[in-house]
């Protein structure tokens, strides 16, 4: 095997120049960082050696996040050469300005190396083989730039469900910042699956990361179980007047009344020392009176009446509503913020790809279109599951619409006028009518002989007679 010339003179030359250069393996491991690049980033080059330059690599270490921002833009494997504006987060104590970087992919298979070179490049990308790919790569690069900017602005506060440029996303991020800066009860209101639990946990972590936290699955609670779940918080709160703790109640509006009663008593006992973080539906109801003067749950009648949907026992006790009304965060449904979906999806792809779950590293425009148009009844949880599926299924770096779950890739909205004017037909009614017509036709074809009709339909005579008896003539 022929040996190349020595690498040291080249490294010495690069380190002596003002060239911003770094080299990674195909898996993103940093092999070389020039002295000028280290100066630009404000780090010691040795401290970055072997760190992973993969977007959204999960880590609390600021240097890991800095390394992640050095990742090449998606699509480099398709064209071999791309430019991208790298935006380091700068949360390692050093403000770093963004810089235009050219990325070149050289070698084959496991020997691939990625060279990153700072410069003022005229061409935004290489020459793709397929028409339209240049627009897609520019689109992906722009998404990456927006993600880097979002990560830089949000730092450790970043939760994927709040990514985006919509007014709703900006407002939510602002309220999370505020919630993390004060210590008060906080309600998180949004549809099921909107990421309320993750956001509430992050708020706790940011506000009082060292404070004990008990997570309570509200709908599964009764008074005793609640007592047992928050028990580890109660003992220190009882023993010391300076102790503090937080309880995160998931689905407060679906928590049984007696458990809410107990929670209310605990909040009253410990004052502000027990902090309540609670998630609930978008428009949680207030539990209806009567509560008696002592708040005794025995006095609350069971108002659940299957014939009256308004009488269901979901809702929040008035005193807990009062406690949470001090500060609340409303989480908008994904369907009302379509412009955020590409960014959220791209951030989720980055996270899944960084976790080594599959080959998919960017979404094609067709896949993004399918995600944008889909109404997301399962909210962020459904989007996350869809992306996880797509990253695993994709056979190459680009995730196509065909890699998305069937429900999403086959969704086609209908003409709104047609949808609103179309009559509602209950499926059971339609099936019964169809069955009735088949039976009548079979009886007619059999000359009124029900046994013969049953034989022709492949059912028993008794079943045919039962069906006829069940159904009134239309």
């Amino acid at each position: 095997m022929p040996a190349g010339s020595k690498i040291r003179p080249l490294a010495r030359q690069l380190d002596g120049s003002s060239a911003v250069v770094w080299v990674t393996t195909a898996h993103g491991e940093l092999l070389y960082l020039s002295a000028a690049a280290a100066d630009w980033l404000g780090v010691d080059g040795d401290s970055m050696f072997r760190r992973r330059c993969v977007p959204a690599a999960a880590s609390d270490d600021p240097l890991d996040r800095l390394a992640a921002s050095l990742a090449p833009p998606p699509g480099l494997g398709e064209v071999g050469w791309l430019t991208h504006r790298v935006t380091p987060p700068g949360d390692h104590g050093q403000a770093v300005s963004p810089r235009q970087i050219g990325f070149a992919r050289i070698g084959e298979g496991a020997d691939v190396l990625i060279f990153a070179v700072g410069g003022d490049f005229a061409s935004p990308s290489g020459t793709p083989d397929e028409p339209g790919t240049a627009d897609e790569l520019a689109d992906a690069s722009e998404l990456r730039r927006q993600l880097d900017t979002w990560r830089k602005a949000e730092g450790v506060r970043a939760t994927v469900a709040t990514a985006g440029t919509s007014a709703a996303a900006r407002r939510t991020r602002g309220r999370i910042r505020f919630a993390a800066s004060v210590r008060c009860h906080v309600g998180f209101y949004g549809p099921t699956g909107c990421g309320g639990e993750t956001i509430a946990s992050r708020v706790h972590q940011l506000a009082r990361g060292d404070e004990p936290l008990a997570v309570v699955d509200g709908p599964l609670m009764d008074a005793e179980l609640l007592e047992a779940t928050v028990g580890p918080l109660i003992a220190p709160l009882s023993e010391s007047q300076t102790a503090v703790a937080s309880a995160l109640v998931l689905g407060l509006d679906e928590t049984p009344v007696e458990a809410q009663q107990r929670l209310s008593e605990l909040l009253a006992s410990f004052g502000g020392r027990l902090r309540l973080l609670a998630t609930a539906g978008s428009q949680p109801g207030e539990l209806r009176e009567p509560f008696d003067a002592s708040g005794d749950v025995e006095a609350v009648p069971d108002v659940t009446d299957p014939a009256d949907p308004s009488s269901t026992r979901t809702g929040i006790r008035p005193d807990l509503v009062d406690a949470l009304s001090v500060f609340s965060i409303r989480l908008e449904p994904l369907a009302s913020r379509p412009e955020d979906i590409p960014l959220i999806a791209a951030a989720t792809v980055d996270a899944r790809h960084a976790a080594g779950e599959g080959l998919g590293e960017r979404l094609s425009r067709a896949a993004l279109d399918a995600l944008v148009v889909y109404p997301w009844p399962g909210e962020f949880v459904e989007l996350d599951a869809a992306i996880r599926h797509a990253v695993r299924v994709a056979r190459r770096g680009v995730i196509g619409a065909e890699d998305l779950p069937l429900a999403i890739r086959s969704y086609r909205p209908s003409d709104p006028a047609g949808a609103s004017s179309r009559p509602t037909i209950p499926l059971d009614d339609a099936v019964r009518r169809f069955e009735r017509r088949l039976i009548e036709e079979a009886i007619e074809a059999a000359g009124g002989n029900r046994a013969e009709a049953a034989r022709r339909l492949g059912i028993s005579r008794a079943k045919l007679i039962r069906r006829l008896a069940d159904e009134p003539n239309d």
Partner: protein, 143 residues
């Protein structure tokens, strides 16, 4: 005796001209939320005779046209020749400023790049249609 006011149904026709189907899907998904309350919205592909003179209700018709690179001048001519007072919206990526100005000069009210940007036009469409429904105007904007 108080007479019930005569009510007329407010109908917005949203026509889409494109090569694939992404803008039709996006329009069907979002346009109903972008119109004044109580508006009945029809979304369908643009047909050849939709731009012919003499059609009805064209003041409350919106045309969303996907314009590929290098096709701006052809569309400027097409919009100029259309004598119906429709509201034009152009979907295009990478338009230059002179191209945008050319499109605005012939009455294009907005441009969008990607389907997820369509809801940004809600207040524009709502405003235009509220005025059109109120006045029944058949005047062509900027003509």
């Amino acid at each position: 005796m108080i007479e019930r006011p005569e009510t007329t149904e407010r109908v917005l026709t949203w026509l889409v001209d494109e090569r694939g189907g992404r803008w039709l899907s996006a329009s069907r998904r979002f346009v109903a939320t972008m119109t004044p309350d109580g508006t009945r919205v029809h979304v369908r592909p643009l047909a050849d005779d939709d731009l012919a003179p003499g059609g009805q209700n064209s003041a409350t018709t919106v045309v969303l046209a996907e314009v590929a690179r290098g096709e701006v001048s052809r569309w400027v001519g097409r919009i100029t020749r259309c004598e119906r007072p429709m509201t034009w919206i152009v979907a295009a990526v990478g338009l230059t400023n002179p191209e945008r100005l050319d499109l605005m000069r012939v009455g294009v009210r907005a441009t969008v790049e990607q389907p997820e940007h369509l809801p940004r036009l809600a207040s524009l469409i709502r405003g235009i249609m509220t005025r059109r429904f109120a006045t029944g105007s058949q005047r062509r904007p900027f003509a």
